[in-house]
């Protein structure tokens, strides 16, 4: 069975959603992951979008942005951005998905400035709602392509807070949300050590190895004792993902 990196990422991401959860979905791969989870193991999950939308099902045609009219028609609630973010701050949102341009060993994400923020070499678009999800969701899952220069010992700027410099950093700075619980890349799935909060490789995708992942990681990578290949997508999973993205705009 053939599939793309991105299809595998979607499927791995879907497995992070538990039934009945409120999930900050966002667009692109997470939206497809939500669609898949809904149709498999998490039929009662609800999707939140930071433009103010709560949906039970993704819109019939996968929208390009969360504010496309098909994403509003049929919503359970279409309210203000503030009212949706308020659910996060009330502690009602179990999980959210975030991407980033750079990540570090503690799952901190940078989507703001490469280099010194006062004189950046690259100005990235900024937080959007990412910093809020990272700050306030009970847990969050990072999805991003893995390249060594993006997987850094320390990010230049923390846009979306992971586990800071590890340990109980989040508690110390006053963050209530639980921080990142998984990092899903084009090469593997990372999780975070319960004490040190450092990312470690939990599984490598089929065709990859601990070494190939390590080669694209900018820090001294820790690896789970029971590291194993990421389970292959099943045919039904792939079928659902492809039905949600028939033209392959996001996953090809």
């Amino acid at each position: 069975m053939t599939y793309t990196d991105r299809e595998l990422m979607v499927i791995a991401a879907a497995r992070e959603i538990r039934d009945g959860e409120l999930v900050f979905v966002g667009m692109r791969l997470p939206l497809l992951a939500f669609a898949l989870a809904k149709r498999t193991h998490a039929p009662r999950a609800l999707g939140l979008f930071e433009n103010g939308i709560v949906r039970e099902q993704p819109a019939p045609d996968t929208p390009f942005t969360m504010s496309d009219p098909p994403n509003i028609a049929g919503a359970l609630w279409s309210t203000s951005t503030g009212n949706i973010m308020a659910l996060l701050q009330q502690g009602l949102v179990e999980m959210g998905f975030i991407g980033g341009a750079e990540v570090d060993r503690y799952g901190n994400l940078n989507t703001s400035y490469i280099g010194d923020w006062k004189h950046p070499t690259v100005k990235l678009p900024g937080s959007g709602g990412g910093a809020d999800i990272a700050s306030l969701a009970k847990r969050f899952v990072i999805i991003m392509p893995q390249e060594k220069h993006r997987f850094r010992e320390r990010v230049d700027y923390i846009t979306s807070p992971g586990h800071g410099d590890g340990g109980d950093w989040r508690r110390k700075v006053g963050l209530r949300g639980g921080g990142p619980s998984a990092l899903i890349t084009t090469l593997g799935v990372f999780r975070f050590h319960p004490e040190t909060k450092e990312a470690y490789l939990a599984s490598f995708h089929p065709g990859q190895s601990v070494e190939s992942v390590r080669a694209q990681t900018g820090w001294d990578l820790k690896v789970a004792l029971d590291v194993a290949p990421t389970p292959e997508p099943s045919a039904p999973e792939l079928e659902i993902v492809r039905a949600s993205d028939p033209e392959g705009f996001w996953t090809r």
């Binding site: 009219p69 203000s80 996060l88 701050q89 937080s127 959007g128 700050s135 306030l136 700075v173």
Partner: protein, 308 residues
């Protein structure tokens, strides 16, 4: 007494109510109802030193920055939602091209809270978001505070009060009683926080039709400076019940604006080369409009405001 009409052409509304140096909130509806028609007129009139305020601004802020209208950006995200980075935004921040700009980094929630505080006339609202992030350092408008009950840390988000908010809505009367539905984003907060509001409407309707649903009226009439009738005025962003999003336009802009020259050519063609929004729509072509036009109505159930 007679209703006072605030109907104005886009040219007049921008000329009168968006002076150089003003702080302007645009694109409060996130990816929907972005007032591109107003933004293009701001560029045509060569406005300078604007502070642009908005959550994500999908492409519009990038255009205004590239055209040199902007001195400062107060936003959570600036770029092109489906394509990625904003090339003009990068050039301005990284190299001061065409002009250096100042950036106040927000998240969507803190921008919403800032406008909410502004709308309440409150000095700030505290939040637990952004603790431990670089935003607290790069955005000096935030303060780190301490919850006086629990001693826990908190971020104080100061009130944001734009000089003017430009909002695109489905319908309005000539006095500015207007109805917006679909994606709301931070539009209501922006309209109430701003000193004045320019309403850009797909349709101008009779007052009674708007006041038949007074709960839906977006802002009180005292806030409205001008009402501009500009059908399709949010294109290429979508407007619920009227038209969908022109994704291709966003993708093409992303490619064409990669270089300053490319952006200049884009600007000459789509903005400076046309006298007004009708000119833009002609360039876009009736086929595109027809493709984007919503063809299947999905009507809500009327509300009965009966009182007797």
């Amino acid at each position: 007494m007679r209703a006072v009409s605030k109907l104005a052409s886009m040219t007049d509304a921008i000329a009168r109510f968006v002076p150089d140096g003003a702080s302007v909130c645009l694109g409060a509806g996130l990816e929907a109802v972005i007032p591109f028609a107003a933004g293009h007129e701001i560029i045509r009139q060569g406005k300078r030193d604007l502070t642009l305020i908005g959550p994500i601004s999908d492409m519009l802020f990038d255009q205004l920055i590239g055209a040199g209208c902007c001195r400062k950006v107060v936003a959570a995200w600036v770029g092109n939602v489906i394509a990625g980075l904003g090339h003009n935004y990068r050039r301005a921040v990284e190299r001061g091209v065409p002009r250096p700009i100042e950036v106040e980094d927000h998240s969507n929630f803190t921008l919403s809270l800032g406008l909410l505080a502004g709308s309440l006339g409150a000095p700030y609202i505290p939040t637990r978001s952004l603790l431990g992030t670089g935003l607290l350092e790069s955005n000096r408008s935030f303060k780190l505070g301490t919850n006086p009950w629990t001693g826990e840390p908190e971020v104080l988000v100061p009130g944001i009060t734009p000089d003017v908010a430009i909002v695109h809505v489905q319908r309005s009367d000539v006095e500015g009683h207007c109805h917006l539905w679909g994606t709301l984003g931070v539009t209501r907060e922006a309209g109430l926080a701003a000193r004045g509001v320019i309403v850009v409407a797909e349709e101008i309707r009779r007052r009674e039709q708007l006041l038949a649903d007074p709960n839906l009226v977006l802002v009180p009439p005292v806030k409205v400076l001008a009402v501009v009738h500009e059908p399709w005025g949010a294109l290429p962003s979508p407007c619920q019940g009227f038209y969908g999003r022109d994704h291709e336009f966003f993708m093409r802009y992303h490619e064409e604006s990669r270089s300053p020259e490319g952006f200049r050519a884009w600007l000459e063609k789509w903005v400076l080369g046309v006298p007004d929004w009708k000119g833009f729509l002609e360039l876009l072509g009736t086929e595109t409009l027809e493709r984007l036009r919503v063809k299947q109505p999905q009507l809500s159930e009327p509300l009965d405001y009966g009182a007797r």
